[in-house]
Structures are given as structure tokens and as C-alpha cells.
């Protein structure tokens, strides 16, 4: 199949190491952000009169250096992986789901109610899928509201998901505070079935850390999302809509239906994240458990460059920052990590378009 002049013309742009260009565009922004964050971290540490090198060493020892700290990082990374996957899934379709916070909370709430409703002694092999389906349905129900309003009325999903966060969290607060709580607390009774084994049950060195089997579930969800996005027809349609909705519509894809599915399923993924806290850690739903995890999901999706496996790495990174704050607290206030999280997001957001422009103009000059 050679000889066509057209094929010869197209060839250079197709074979010209596009993976390298894509890798550069994907990896440079997070690296720039890391560098900026390190410098900001240095300044903050110095403002507290401490030595940056000593504090960073302490941070690494407290997170990756011992099994307990590492387990805590894995636990925090699990929830962030779910919310990060949820946000990135929506972004692949060109939609910004800022509602992961309330979808996660609704999912955890549904998982807890299901775990309470199941009879004592239900085997995990049965209870886990049932609780996960309930969590996913609840998250998906929340996600379907902006999806419907977007496709039916053109209401912008960013505003609707933000507003819905407040509405859903107030509703859950009403359920818990008014009806379902254990007296003197803001949480439900403990679930009867669906308790996930912890890592410490398998390897005693993790003793005390909250890391649990939800970690494996998160990895499996990431693989499933990757397969759907890059190997299935529906995922192809979703990405096509995300890149250029008009062109996708012209190519015979129903943009509205893709939007509807993408935002709803984004909510399903975020909702399933509720199992990490409810089934894996506390075994009950507590008001406010999801606080901050939804917004951090945006950061995770951004730094993970919207790729399911990149999201896993980014979740691990942000979980390290969060746990690292506790490790250094004796020397520098852990609030430093709140600053650095913001700095990382800001730096990546600014670096992504800038790096793309710089690389493209450099290539254009190289071609000329």
C-alpha cells in the first residue's frame, strides 16, 4: 500500500514522534508546578525560621519512610483517585464537574444506609457490590441534575454543580442532624455488612493506618475508565465531543446524549469513592467527611493531565502533601501544605497553555 502521493504527504506529520510531543506537553507543566511549589515551600519554611532541607527530609520520612505514614498516604490517595477520575472523566467530554464534593458525600451516605439495611453477616463478596452500586447510583443521581439541565436548557454545568454542592450537603446535613444520627454525634450507626478489610489485616506493619481494599477498587476503576475512554466506541465519542463538539455532531454523534452520560457517570465515579471512608475506615457516614476531597479532585485531574493513570499518580502526590503536613507539623505548621496545594494548581493551570504555546512555536521554527 505505497505510492499514493497523498499518503506520502501526510506521513511526516503522523510519524514525526507525536508521542514525544504529547509527552512533553503532558509532563512539563506538572514538573514546572512541582518546581514552583518547592520554591514557595522553601520561602514558607524560611519564614518560619526552619531549614528547608531538614523539613523536606522529615516530610519524606513521615510519608514514604514508614509503613504507617505510607498507609495513610494510600488511604488519602484512594478518595482523591475517585474524585480525580470523576473530574477528569467529565473534562474528557469537555465538561467541568465541580460537584464531586457532594457526589462523594451522597455516595458515602448511600453506602452507609445500604450497609445498615443489609442483614448482619452478609458476605463481603455480596455486600461490597451492593454498597458500591448504591453509592454509584446516589453519586450518579446528583450528577444527572447538571447533566439534564445542561442538555435540556443549556445551563452551564460549572455553576449548577457548585450550587448543587451546597444544596446536597445541606440536604444530607438535614437527614443526619434531624433523623439518622447517633445521639450527641453527626454520624449514622455502624454498618452491619460491607466492612472492607484493611491493609493492616494483611500486613501488620500497616497497623493503625486507614488504608483498605478500596485502594484496589480505585485502581480497577481507573483501568476500567482507561479501557472505556481509549478502547471503546463510547469513549471515542466522548473524547470527540470533548475536543470539538460541533465536529462530533457533524460526524453523527449525539452531543447531548454524550454530555448526559458523561456528567452522570462522572457523578457515579465520585459517588463510589464514598466506600473508602464508609466501608473501609469509619464504617459509618459522618457529616462533612467529603469536605475538600471534591475540590482536590479538580487539582488531581489537572495535574494527572486527565489520564486515568496520571490521575492515580497525582492522587498519590496530593495525598503525600496532605499527610506530609502532619509529619512536619512540629516544625512548620501543616497549613503550609494548604498553601502549596493552591500553588500547584495555579502553576499547572498557568503552565499548561504556556508550555503548549512555547513548544509549538519552537517546533514551527524548527520546521521552517
Amino acid at each position: 500500500m505505497t505510492g499514493s502521493p497523498l499518503a506520502a504527504e501526510i506521513k511526516p506529520t503522523v510519524s514525526g514522534a507525536p508521542w514525544r510531543e504529547r509527552a512533553e506537553e503532558a509532563l512539563i507543566p506538572p514538573l514546572v508546578a512541582l518546581l514552583v511549589a518547592l520554591i514557595c515551600g522553601d520561602l514558607l519554611i524560611l519564614s518560619y525560621g526552619q531549614s528547608p532541607a531538614a523539613v523536606y527530609r522529615l516530610l519524606l520520612e513521615g510519608t514514604w519512610g514508614n509503613a504507617y505514614g505510607f498507609g495513610q498516604v494510600l488511604y488519602k490517595a484512594t478518595t482523591l483517585a475517585f474524585t480525580g477520575l470523576a473530574v477528569s472523566y467529565g473534562l474528557r467530554a469537555g465538561l467541568f464537574n465541580i460537584g464531586a464534593e457532594s457526589q462523594l458525600a451522597a455516595g458515602g451516605f448511600a453506602a452507609a444506609l445500604t450497609g445498615l439495611a443489609l442483614p448482619v453477616g452478609t458476605p463481603l463478596i455480596l455486600a461490597l457490590p451492593i454498597c458500591m452500586i448504591a453509592a454509584g447510583l446516589a453519586g450518579g443521581a446528583v450528577g444527572s441534575v447538571p447533566a439534564y439541565l445542561k442538555t435540556r436548557f443549556g445551563a452551564h454545568e460549572v455553576i449548577v454543580t457548585i450550587m448543587l454542592n451546597f444544596i446536597v450537603l445541606a440536604l444530607l446535613n438535614w437527614f443526619i442532624a434531624g433523623h439518622l444520627h447517633v445521639p450527641e454525634t453527626l454520624h449514622t450507626p455502624e454498618i452491619h455488612a460491607g466492612v472492607l478489610p484493611r491493609l493492616a489485616d494483611i500486613d501488620s506493619r500497616f497497623h493503625g493506618s486507614a488504608a483498605n481494599l478500596a485502594l484496589i477498587v480505585a485502581a480497577l476503576v481507573a483501568i476500567a475508565v482507561w479501557f472505556y475512554l481509549f478502547r471503546a466506541r463510547g469513549g471515542y465519542e466522548l473524547r470527540a465531543v470533548g475536543l470539538q463538539p460541533q465536529a462530533a455532531e457533524y460526524g453523527g454523534i449525539s452531543v447531548g446524549r454524550v454530555w448526559m452520560r458523561a456528567l452522570t457517570f462522572s457523578g457515579v465515579i465520585a459517588g463510589m469513592g464514598g466506600i473508602n471512608y464508609v466501608l473501609g475506615y469509619k464504617h459509618y457516614y459522618e457529616d462533612g467527611f467529603a469536605s475538600g476531597a471534591g475540590f482536590m479532585g479538580i487539582a488531581v485531574a489537572l495535574v494527572g493531565r486527565n489520564h486515568p493513570f496520571g490521575v492515580l499518580i497525582a492522587a498519590f502526590f496530593f495525598a503525600t502533601l496532605s499527610q506530609g503536613g502532619l509529619a512536619i507539623h512540629a516544625f512548620v505548621p501543616k497549613q503550609m501544605m494548604d498553601v502549596l496545594q493552591g500553588v500547584v494548581i495555579l502553576a499547572v493551570a498557568m503552565a499548561v497553555p504556556e508550555v503548549r504555546r512555547v513548544l509549538r512555536s519552537a517546533r514551527r521554527r524548527a520546521d521552517a
Binding site: L44, S47, Y48, F96, I98, L149, R152, F153, A155, H156, V158, I159, V160, I162, M163, L164, F166, I167, A170, L171, N173, W174, A177, G178, F295, I298, A299, L302, P333, Q335, M336, M337, D338, V339, L340, Q341, G342, V343, I345, L346, A349, M350, V352, P353, E354
Partner: protein, 289 residues
């Protein structure tokens, strides 16, 4: 329920919304998404307490508070205008950054992770019910002033042009970038003043003290269809709901959570266009490449 006390309480609650929503209207009319109001308010509140604490004068606090909002607004402007970063992402980052920075400096300056020491404020005469506070009167004036600026001044015309037809504005010699920088800076100062009022009214800074007020302000902007006076009316409406919730407390007539939802539900209804669509400025959030 005493109507006078209801009205005065409603106005006191509305003031931070009025400041922040006016800021939101200006930035969004210039085409820049204002999810950052929460962060501007929080940094304004903290900077006001810092300035008041070290000078002893709330007027210095007003200046430092405006500066606090302005600094975060400039970060926002540089990221979205100079670097053309996604405005929603930057908005999220600015809000997280404001929480982080105020927490860190709360620890650094006041050695506390929850609140600052008590600082001076304005007024304080019980009989005046808060109306001896000059910031309150400023807050009542800000919406009409912004309406005048947006509809009756050359700057306002440029702001609206930048938000509706940036290309057309450029073609007649208006620097869209400069107009947007000015509009975002103004929104930072105004939202910062909302934070100043909040902090000086409570005589201290507490961690995350804005508690979602910036998002109520953005709701008011949308519900008020990006018009300063209508947004101000929305602020008063949302404040009235909140006042009702406070005054009904203990009566169990209606759960407070459902009154909390009112601004957000109304905003979604307005966006969905059940009673007349809320249509944003044409170039809002769009980045030209």
C-alpha cells in the same frame, strides 16, 4: 417578629454580599469568570484584621483589606489574562490558596489555627444597631455607584464591550486586556471590602470565616442577570431568607437547611430559564488564542 429589627438585621447580613456581588458583576461583565469572590473576601478579611491589629485603627484595616483582595485579584488576572489559564481552574486554585495563605499567616502572626485576637472596629453603639458603621453605608452605596460606572462612563462601556465583543472592542482601539485587568482588580478590591466588613463587624478573623458567602454573591450576580442593581436586589433577597432563618430558629417551623438552600435553588432555576433565561455576557470565560 419586629419588622424594624428584621430589616436592620437583613441589611447587616446583606452588606458583604453587596460588596462582593458588585465586584463579581464588573469582572464578569468584562468577560472574566468570578468564582474567586470567596477567596478575595477571605484574604480581604484577614488583611483587614492584620492591619487593624498592628495599627490599632480600623481605617488602616480597610486599606490593608482592600490591598489583600487586590493582591489575590492580580494573581487571578495574571493567570487568566497573561497566561490564559482556564478561569474556572484558576478560580478553584485562588479559593484554595486564600484558605491556605490565611491559615498559614494566622499561625505565623497570631500563633493560632482558629482565630485572631480581638481587634478594633467601627461604631459599636447598641442603639444604632450597626448603622453607625461607615462601611455599612458604603455597602449600600456600592451597587448604585457600580450601575453608574457600568452604564454611564467610558470605562463601563469598555468593560461591557470586552465582555460581549472583545474583537470589536480591539478593532476600535480598546485594549481588552487592560480593561480586564482593571475590572478584575476592581472586583478584588470590592470583594475584599466585603471581607473587611465581615471581619471588623465580628472584631476578629476566624478560619474560613467567609463560609461560602462568595458563592452566594456569585449566585446573586447570576440571579441578578449580571446587572448591578438587580444583583443587589438578589443580595437583599438572599439576606432576607437568612434573616428569616435566624429569627425562626427554635420555632421548628421549617428546617434551617431548607432556607440555606434558597439562593442556590433560585440560581439554578434562573440558569435553567424557567422564568426568563439568565444569559451570561457572550465572551464570559472564553480565551482567545
Amino acid at each position: 417578629m419586629n419588622p424594624i429589627s428584621f430589616l436592620t438585621q437583613m441589611i447587616r447580613i446583606a452588606i458583604p454580599y453587596l460588596f462582593a456581588a458588585s465586584g463579581g458583576v464588573v469582572a464578569e461583565r468584562a468577560g472574566i469568570v468570578s468564582l474567586t469572590l470567596e477567596g478575595f473576601m477571605l484574604s480581604g478579611a484577614f488583611a483587614a484584621v492584620l492591619g487593624t491589629n498592628y495599627s490599632g485603627s480600623p481605617w488602616v484595616g480597610v486599606l490593608t483589606g482592600m490591598l489583600g483582595g487586590l493582591i489575590f485579584a492580580l494573581i487571578h488576572a495574571v493567570a487568566t489574562i497573561r497566561y490564559r489559564a482556564d478561569q474556572v481552574v484558576v478560580g478553584v486554585a485562588i479559593n484554595l490558596l486564600a484558605i491556605g495563605v490565611t491559615r498559614f499567616f494566622l499561625k505565623l502572626f497570631f500563633a493560632s489555627s482558629s482565630n485572631s485576637p480581638r481587634v478594633a472596629g467601627f461604631g459599636g453603639n447598641i442603639k444604632a444597631a450597626g448603622f453607625d458603621n461607615p462601611l455599612l453605608w458604603l455597602g449600600l452605596l456600592v451597587a448604585p455607584v457600580m450601575a453608574f460606572v457600568i452604564y454611564r462612563t467610558p470605562f463601563g462601556l469598555r468593560v461591557r464591550a470586552a465582555g460581549e465583543h472583545p474583537d470589536a472592542a480591539e478593532s476600535v482601539g480598546v485594549s481588552v486586556k487592560r480593561v480586564r485587568y482593571a475590572a478584575v482588580a476592581l472586583s478584588g478590591i470590592l470583594a475584599g471590602l466585603g471581607g473587611v466588613y465581615l471581619a471588623l463587624d465580628q472584631h476578629q478573623f476566624t478560619d474560613q470565616m467567609t463560609a461560602g458567602r462568595g458563592f452566594i454573591a456569585i449566585s446573586a450576580v447570576i440571579f441578578g442577570r449580571w446587572d448591578p442593581m438587580k444583583a443587589a436586589a438578589a443580595c437583599l433577597l438572599f439576606a432576607a431568607a437568612e434573616t428569616l432563618q435566624i429569627q425562626l430558629q427554635g420555632s421548628n417551623a421549617i428546617a434551617s437547611q431548607f432556607i440555606e438552600m434558597i439562593p442556590y435553588v433560585l440560581t439554578i432555576i434562573a440558569l435553567a430559564g424557567v422564568v426568563g433565561r439568565a444569559v451570561p455576557p457572550a465572551a464570559l470565560g472564553k480565551v482567545e488564542d
